[in-house]
């Protein structure tokens, strides 16, 4: 992504549209970021696993993103079935899947699963994206 977006710096971070990106960051980079004056630090844990959960749980806001398509929903449901005590700082969002599946999961697990607006370009924020993100951050 750094190369494609025109940044050829060998040291981190590289900057795209006024956002600093740290690739393959670990605990040290996170500690450095916390010492900087960033208002928001977004940590992409990728596919969540045991240790990932524990690290994620330290964040102020935790968002689990999944897909509710019939051939992918099982992974999402597995996470739901784990006996983890999750408070309101855990949010759930899905880009794909039917409305029926989404509502069933909401009802069964008594959570809110937000619908992520479809977007062609992750770097372009549309009105729908802003409404979605405002709700996600605002609760």
């Amino acid at each position: 992504m750094a190369g494609f977006c025109g940044s050829f710096k060998k040291t981190m971070p590289y900057r795209i549209l006024e956002v600093d990106y740290y690739a393959q960051a670990g605990a040290k980079e996170l500690a450095d970021c916390l010492n900087e004056s960033y208002r928001y630090i977004i940590v992409d844990y990728g596919e969540i696993t045991g240790q990932g959960f524990a690290d994620c749980a330290r964040c102020d806001l935790k968002v689990i993103v999944g897909s509710l398509s019939e051939w992918q929903a099982e992974a999402f449901l597995e996470i739901m079935r784990k006996d983890e005590k999750r408070d309101k700082s855990w949010k759930y969002a899905a880009a794909f899947g039917s409305e029926e599946t989404r509502k069933e999961i909401e009802k069964k697990y008594r959570i809110s699963v937000r619908r992520i607006p479809y977007t062609k370009d992750a770097f372009a924020i549309t009105h729908a994206d802003m409404v979605f993100l405002k709700e996600l951050l605002g609760d």
Binding site: L17, E18, F123, A124, I125, T126, H127, M130, V131, K134
Partner: protein
């Protein structure tokens, strides 16, 4: 409301297609409830806007009044039977963008049902006398309500039995129109909403004749004005908001655009619980305001022809943009003069630039430094709230607009244009 009444409302709405009337998509019922599925409308009620602002300007009132007359005329012209609305009041009129929409049709009836009405409807303050006495209702009942709404927009109060027409708020022509609408005898009122609308259009035309210039006769012509401050705290945002509010009250379709990173609009929006609209715009005290968004944000282009851009203290953005006019806000205190001179010198006098000396106090500042030779300047006294103008602030904005439109009216303000006036020091 019973189910029959509910179905009647749905049927009435389904017959009418007009931008000012919400679209009805469907009607559903279950064992317990009836559901009317209609178009989602984003906007503030006239009631909420007037509550925020105190009252509207004459230009705004006439503009919205014309739209209301057209809406009511559509109802009164419905085929096969005219529809009487019977509950026209500021809470049932939404301002969506710049369009008035009429909502809540639960008291509307067909004209041929009027004589069989067993209950009285209407809102106290806007309901015609015959709605209290049980006499026959017809189109002129709604005409009365239009008059009450016009009065409300202009004064912030309902007319009552003996309305008073304060000269400061309502001129003679408009007072006569409203008075005709509010006549206790229905036969003395305008015979139709169309006729009333035409009277208001005449008043609007007369007002436009007094506003020729850059903006022409049509307040929909475009204009962009950039505002910047000579230093942080000079009051650029305050003046930019104040000027945008002033233009809005004069009847222009205007947008305040934040072109700096102060985040002021979002902070105000949070404070007022304002919701972001379709173009990323917030309405704060009725004024459309577009916050600064970064390059990543892609929104639909907004439809506002008149834009006041708040450039903060970025004099580069101020001078390099494509604005039609430029307002530089400087401090008026002696310890701020040097920064005013520096800013004017840096800018090299772009075309159409004027200087506003902010928070001017005659006792403290008995003279001002001469600005660049051909720059106009205006003295803005302290004005605590940019959303509600003092008389003095309004006079300054009158002069600023006249300056932008090429029609200066003179008056109490001194205009400096390269020569020494008694009030201004010519010496730098």
């Amino acid at each position: 409301m019973d189910a029959r009444q509910f179905r009647k409302e749905a049927l009435i709405l389904k017959c009418i297609r007009h931008p000012g009337i919400p679209v009805v998509y469907d009607l559903e019922e279950d064992a317990d409830f009836c559901y009317l599925i209609e178009e989602f409308l984003e906007g503030d009620s006239l009631y909420a806007l007037v509550s925020d602002m105190g009252h509207f300007s004459k230009a705004m009132t006439v503009r919205y009044g014309i739209q209301i007359c057209r809406l009511v005329n559509i109802l009164h012209s419905a085929k096969p039977t005219p529809i009487l609305y019977l509950d026209l009041q500021p809470r049932n009129l939404l301002v969506c963008g710049d369009i008035i929409k009429l909502v809540d049709f639960d008291h509307a009836i067909h004209l041929d049902e009027a004589e069989y009405l067993t209950k009285s409807y209407g809102t106290v303050g806007c309901a015609a006398p015959e709605q209290y006495t049980g006499e026959d209702l017809n189109e002129r009942t709604d005409i009365y309500a239009i008059g009450a709404v016009l009065y409300y927009m202009l004064t912030g109060t309902y007319p009552g039995k003996s309305p008073v027409y304060p000269r400061a708020l309502i001129d003679r022509k408009l007072a006569k129109v409203i008075h005709t609408c509010l006549n206790e005898d229905p036969k003395e009122r305008y015979e139709s909403a169309d006729r009333l609308g035409k009277e208001l259009e005449c008043i609007q035309e007369q007002m436009e004749k007094n506003k020729e210039g850059v903006l022409g006769k049509d307040p929909g012509s475009s204009l962009t004005v950039a505002v910047a401050g000579a230093f942080p705290g000079a009051g650029a945002t305050h003046i930019a908001i104040g000027f945008a509010v002033y233009l809005w009250q004069q009847g222009f379709s205007v947008l305040y655009e934040e072109k700096n990173r102060s985040n002021a609009v979002r902070q105000m929006a949070d404070c007022m619980d304002s919701i972001m609209g379709r173009y990323g715009i917030y309405r704060i005290h009725g004024l459309p305001m577009l916050p600064f968004y970064g390059d990543a944000v892609k929104l639909e282009p907004h439809p506002y022809p008149v834009v006041v851009q708040d450039c903060g203290t970025s004099l580069k953005a101020f001078s390099r943009g494509t604005a039609d006019g430029h307002l530089l806000v400087c401090g008026s205190k002696p310890w701020q003069w040097q920064r005013a001179r520096d800013a004017v010198q840096f800018l090299g006098n772009p075309p159409g630039m004027a200087v506003i000396y902010n928070q001017f106090c005659g006792r403290l500042t008995v003279r001002l430094p001469g600005p660049a030779r051909e720059t106009e300047c205006f003295l803005m006294p302290d004005s605590p709230n940019p959303f509600v103008h003092t008389k003095a602030a309004k006079r300054v904005y009158d002069e600023v607009l006249s300056s932008l439109t090429g029609r200066r009216t003179g008056g109490i303000l001194r205009i400096f244009s390269g020569r020494t006036e008694g009030f201004f020091a010519g010496k730098d």
